[in-house]
């Protein structure tokens, strides 16, 4: 990322900042209002379980449609054509795993965290510690990617130049995010996500219709203009089919397959997605949440298809690649082309709101996991003096995470950390999903199996990434000028996911531990919702 490049030409930084400030002001008022009733742990972590399915579904889409999927996918389609579209399909289909196998059962058996479900019938302390380690690592990778993205966006949209200016903006983003989480807890965070999702989807819809209207609502004609703008002929036509980005060599094809698998299996193992299912009163509402999320996310990705090719046709891949922020600038540049500085300001504000909302969701998830799994159950062995002290620990953790996020964002801002989101998905798919599925569906599964699949998945994924071309050995790597990339794929999922499933099985059969009583309780509760955590009535 070029740190000293000027902002987008024609952008009005003051206007962008004003629109963003209005968003922050409105959401802060709502967060304060939402905090009035936040008293118990259930209020703080799970918003009193009082959101409806549709509200939660909108919030999930707000949480899920990060800057990477909004700016990233539109940009990838504009520059690489069809290959960008492939991402969005993996991200969408993944929700069926959550719908069919995870959401309702998790809501019925857990309380606040992923660890609640994984440790349900296991030895509490080791499994909770493992679940917390995995949650913190996934959240940290994801968080770092978002904060670094914020640095790039600042450059792109606010025209803030120089290191100090960028650092200040990253710090401001971090501070606002911590305020949301500290004051509003899950309820405040959820409202921020709902507002952001609404703005994002409405904005994308307006732009989609605008783009289509320029081509008489003829999608084929839009594609033709994108092809022509890219130089026509075989070069332009390459935008329409797959392979432009990933089809070069046998290894890159395998890498893409690996990415596709991690995307589709990762979503249902992302801790911040899982935690959202606790904010509704029961399993049926959790189901409704996923349905709403699938519909909104699906429609949104259809918009990005039009916006991506629209940016290719109206702005042009060359201009996008040369702009600060490269592919991330496709959607903002398209907004500028269509509606001038005002629409750009709106889209810029939405992009910032996106980062804020996603980062807040990650922070509350990570702090809940530390306070609930590590502090209350591992350190205090389940005997905390009061729920209030657990919430206090969660708030302190949120502060610490906020500080780490700001520091990490500043340190990593000139690094190429695009692989971090893919890494977060790979860890979620390798360490979390196998353990979750075994816990929910396999009677024989036990403590050692859970520890094997969580730690095994984590270690394998991280080791493979460290020794992959994403970190060293290529011009696009994070560390340049070094070569320790003995693993050829940037995406480890193809190897790490099957291995983690295998390790979960292996650990289980190597241990004699069986607890059929506890599995009976878990299964009955998971399927019927008997004695599930109830909503708080205020």
């Amino acid at each position: 990322m070029k740190t000293l490049a000027a902002g987008v030409e024609g952008s009005n930084p003051t206007l962008n900042i004003i629109i963003f400030a209005i968003f922050v002001a409105i959401t802060l008022v709502i967060v304060f209002w939402a905090s009035r009733n936040t008293k118990t742990a259930s209020d703080y972590y799970a918003a009193g379980r009082a959101f409806t399915g549709p509200q939660n579904g909108i919030a999930i889409s707000g949480d899920y449609l990060s800057a990477a999927s909004f700016l990233g996918i539109a940009g990838a389609i504009a520059v690489n054509g069809y290959d960008g579209f492939l991402y969005s399909i993996g991200f969408l289909v993944a929700w069926l795993v959550a719908l069919l196998l995870v959401a309702e059962l998790l809501r019925n058996t857990g309380k606040f965290t992923m660890g609640d479900v994984l440790a349900f019938r296991m030895k509490q302390r080791p499994v909770r510690a493992a679940a917390a380690v995995s949650t913190l690592i996934v959240s940290f990778f994801y968080l770092l990617a978002q904060m670094t993205g914020a640095g790039g966006l600042v450059n792109l949209l606010l025209g803030v130049q120089g290191n100090v200016g960028q650092d200040i903006v990253i710090a401001v983003v971090g501070v606002i995010m911590v305020l949301y989480v500290l004051i509003g807890g899950m309820k405040g965070t959820t409202w921020v996500q709902i507002i952001k999702a609404a703005l994002l989807i409405v904005g994308a819809l307006a732009m989609t219709l605008w783009v289509l209207s320029k081509y008489g609502f003829n999608f084929s004609s839009l594609l033709q203009h994108a092809v022509d703008k890219a130089g026509g002929g075989a070069k332009g036509e390459a935008l329409l089919g797959p392979g432009k980005q990933y089809g070069k060599t046998g290894t890159s094809k395998l890498d893409f397959l690996s990415l596709g698998i991690a995307l589709v299996l990762g979503t249902a193992g992302l801790p911040h997605v899982l935690m959202r299912f606790y904010t509704v009163p029961n399993a049926k509402e959790a189901r409704k949440s996923v349905v709403w999320a699938i519909v909104l996310i699906g429609i949104f990705y259809l918009f990005t298809l039009v916006l991506g090719y629209g940016a290719g046709a109206l702005v042009g891949a060359d201009k996008i690649s040369k702009a600060p922020g490269t592919t991330n600038s496709a959607a903002p540049l398209l907004a500028l082309e269509l509606g001038g500085p005002v629409l750009l300001g709106f889209i810029a504000a939405v992009a910032f709101a996106t980062i804020l909302a996603v980062v807040a969701g990650l922070t509350i998830t990570a702090s809940a996991s530390f306070a609930h799994d590590v502090y209350a159950n591992v350190i205090k062995k389940g005997k905390v003096d009061s729920a209030a002290s657990e919430v206090r620990v969660a708030r302190i953790t949120a502060l610490v995470i906020g500080a780490i996020a700001i520091a990490g964002g500043i340190l990593a801002k000139s690094q190429n950390v695009a692989f971090l989101v893919a890494l977060a998905f790979a860890v979620a798919a390798s360490a979390n999903l196998p353990t979750l599925l075994y816990s929910l569906f396999w009677k024989r599964f036990n403590t050692r199996g859970a520890l094997f699949s969580i730690y095994g998945g984590l270690v394998i994924t991280i080791v493979l990434i460290v020794f992959s071309p994403a970190v060293s050995g290529e011009s696009t790597s994070m560390i340049k000028g070094a070569n320790f990339d003995w693993f050829p794929l940037s995406n480890p999922g193809l190897v790490s996911i099957p291995l983690s499933f295998f390790l979960g099985w292996l650990g289980t059969v190597l241990s004699k531990e069986r607890n059929e009583e506890k599995y009976a309780e878990m299964e009955v509760r998971a399927l019927t919702g008997a004695h599930a955590e109830k909503a708080v009535v205020h």
Binding site: T52, Y82, D83, F85, L86, I89, G90, L92, V93, W95, L96, V97, L100, L101, T109, G110, K111, D116, F120, N218, F219, S220, S221, Q224, L240, G241, P242, G243, Y246, G247, K253, L257, G260, I261, V264, V280, P281, N282, K284, R287, V290, V291, I294, V295, Y301, H372, A376, K381, G382, E517, E521, E523, V524, L527, T528, A530, H531, E533, K534, A535
Partner: protein, 126 residues
């Protein structure tokens, strides 16, 4: 709550979970759930994998034009959206008709006299 208190066995008010687990109603519920979600998961994952493999290893086929600039790749890609929405709809319909009544029955039996308070709390959200 048994989910946080360590080593505490069974939190149901005198309920024997194994007995419920082996009851005909519950066996039926589990059977209905698993016979829907497992094959469906295999189906959509296989269909997704076919799509990814085609895009990866048969780009020429995917670039075949059908109408105007609309090609096979876009068609199959959009079909992935269609099947995702369709499976979602099928599952919700199935769950409402075949799973919810049964799970509600078992839950009511299990929670006994607590039912009245629970029912009103859940009624608000319906």
């Amino acid at each position: 709550m048994s989910t946080t208190d360590q080593g505490l066995e069974g939190s149901g008010p005198g309920s024997d979970w194994k007995e419920v687990q082996e009851s005909p109603d519950f066996t039926q519920l589990r059977h209905r759930l698993r016979t829907f979600v497992f094959p469906m998961t295999v189906l959509f994952l296989a269909w997704y994998l076919v799509y990814v493999l085609l895009a990866d290893y048969a780009p020429k086929f995917m670039a075949t034009k059908i109408a105007g600039n609309f090609n096979v790749g876009l068609l199959i890609g959009l079909l992935q959206f269609v099947t995702t929405f369709l499976i979602t709809w099928l599952y919700v319909r199935y769950a409402n008709r075949r799973l919810d009544p049964l799970s509600e029955k078992i839950r009511t039996e299990l929670e006994g006299e607590k039912v009245q308070t629970t029912a009103t709390a859940e009624g608000d959200a319906e």
